[in-house]
Amino acid sequence: MEHTLSDEQLMERFLEGHASAFEVLVNRYSQRIFNFILRHIGDASVAEDLVQDVFLRVVKNAAGFRAQAKFTTWLYTIARNLSIDALRKARHRRHVPLDRPLSSEDEGGATLLDRIADNAPGSDVKTRDRRFVAALEAALREVPDDQREVFLMREIEGLKFREIADILGVPENTVKSRMRYALEALRGHLAAFAETV
């Protein structure tokens, strides 16, 4: 039954003491938040830690949530802030290609591409050109931070421009401009693959 509830209703139930409601929220958003943070900072291990921090911060500040307009806006605001902090602290760990180990502790171990392939049986990843995916990751890393976060929120996370504007605290037209610049930047980096896609 809880799976049919809205995010806000689930938070209400969590505040009433229902842990299962919060678990639904975690199941609903943890994967998306993880990928958002991962694309931001490039280190899967750090990204997982930050996803934990995001949800624990949600728990910590749950009592004040009712003043929030929308749960996802709040959630991504926390995720973005933690990502920016992590980037500032460990800027050098940002550029982690998919074919590199998942984290600094996994030297010689599994890569992001391995994890994708292993956990997505039957997906297009198995048949897709791994070189293209690596190029796409590299192209995304070349996009300026402010444009990349808008691109990730809209293109990958599916947030509306209005919502992204609320998260970033900038006008909606600014968000749209950044989105257009991000698309142009990616197009330039992926020009070599344009004919094959």
């Binding site: 505040l15 994967q31 995916v133 509306k160």
Partner: protein, 313 residues
């Protein structure tokens, strides 16, 4: 009317991401047909978006959610209100030691304790002074003016004697009150200040007793005396008190002090009774001397025997 190029530029991103309503979308599609470069840009962005769809979703580690949920502290089930999410408040009132500990953490504790210590020291000083006065010749009988508001020397002398005993009692009560106040204050925290005030009142009470005139005897009969009559009654009461004091001193064979009291009574005009009292005092002195004589004689006899033995040797 078709939109301008600028308007089409402004709508491009909304169009790509389906954030235009049907009318605006139709208007955009009609308008972009007039600008081939813009149409090419729209197509290029679509391809880029298509490529971006290839960006894979990286899965979380196995057991991540279980690990996260293990760290989540769930709010109390019975609290619909969001305010206190962790119920740490005890359901029963705090015990004595908890209240004691909480009191010691209060900032007014030091102030209250300091005041109590000062009050205790003052009480001991008063008690000591009163004890010394009671033991020796009655200092207050001779120099009572400094602690009384009575008008005449006789009255000053009369109202003074009860003071030492009252002071001793007050001091004793005050010491007990200090101890009691300390415990009470520790237990009740904020009541310490009140207790201190009570101690102050207890200390002030003997002084008030000294300063205040003794209760008029006629008052006990239910008749309120006029002012002049009241003064006469006060004087009579003090004289009676002096006589009582005299009797006590004679009974204790503190005859010197009794003589002092008689002198004051004589100055107060009690000449007739004083004369009789002097006779009685003389008899008491003779009796005391008679009791002391055999002992002296015995002592003398013993001395003579010792001297005789020495002579014989």
């Amino acid at each position: 009317m078709n939109p301008t190029r600028q308007e089409l530029d402004d709508l491009l991103v909304d169009y790509l991401y389906d954030e235009l309503d049907a009318a605006d979308r139709a208007a955009f599609e009609r308008g972009v047909a007039a600008y081939p470069d813009l149409a090419a840009e729209v197509e290029a962005h679509r391809r880029t978006r298509s490529m971006a769809q290839a960006l894979p979703q990286v899965p979380l580690s196995a057991g991540f959610i279980a690990g996260l949920m293990a760290r989540v502290e769930v709010p109390p089930a019975s609290s619909p209100a969001p305010a206190p999410r962790r119920s740490t408040a005890p359901t029963s009132p705090p015990g004595f030691f908890a209240r004691l500990a909480s009191f010691f953490r209060k900032p007014n504790f030091a102030m209250a304790l300091s005041a109590l210590v000062v009050a205790g020291v003052a009480a001991l000083v008063i008690a000591k002074g009163a004890h010394e006065e009671d033991e020796g010749t009655s200092q207050l009988l001779r120099e009572p003016a400094s602690i009384t508001s009575a008008d005449t020397p006789a009255e000053r002398a009369v109202v003074a004697p009860p003071a030492p005993q009252a002071a001793v009692e007050a001091a004793t009560a005050e010491e007990a009150a200090v101890e009691e106040a300390t415990v009470e204050a520790a237990a009740k925290g904020g009541e310490a200040q009140e207790k201190q005030e009570e101690d102050e009142e207890a200390k002030a009470a003997p002084r008030a007793k000294k300063a205040a005139p003794p209760a008029p005897r006629r008052g006990a009969e239910g008749v309120a005396p006029p002012a002049a009559e009241k003064a006469s009654d006060d004087r009579g009461t003090t004289i009676e008190a002096l006589w009582k004091r005299f009797d006590e001193l004679v009974a204790k064979e503190r005859l010197g002090e009794a003589e002092d009291v008689l002198a004051q009574l004589a100055r107060a005009g009690e000449t007739g009774r004083v004369r009789e009292a002097r006779a009685a005092l003389a008899r008491a002195a003779a009796a005391k001397a008679a009791r002391a004589q055999p002992a002296a004689a015995t002592k003398q006899g013993t001395l003579e025997k010792v001297l005789d033995r020495d002579d014989e040797r």
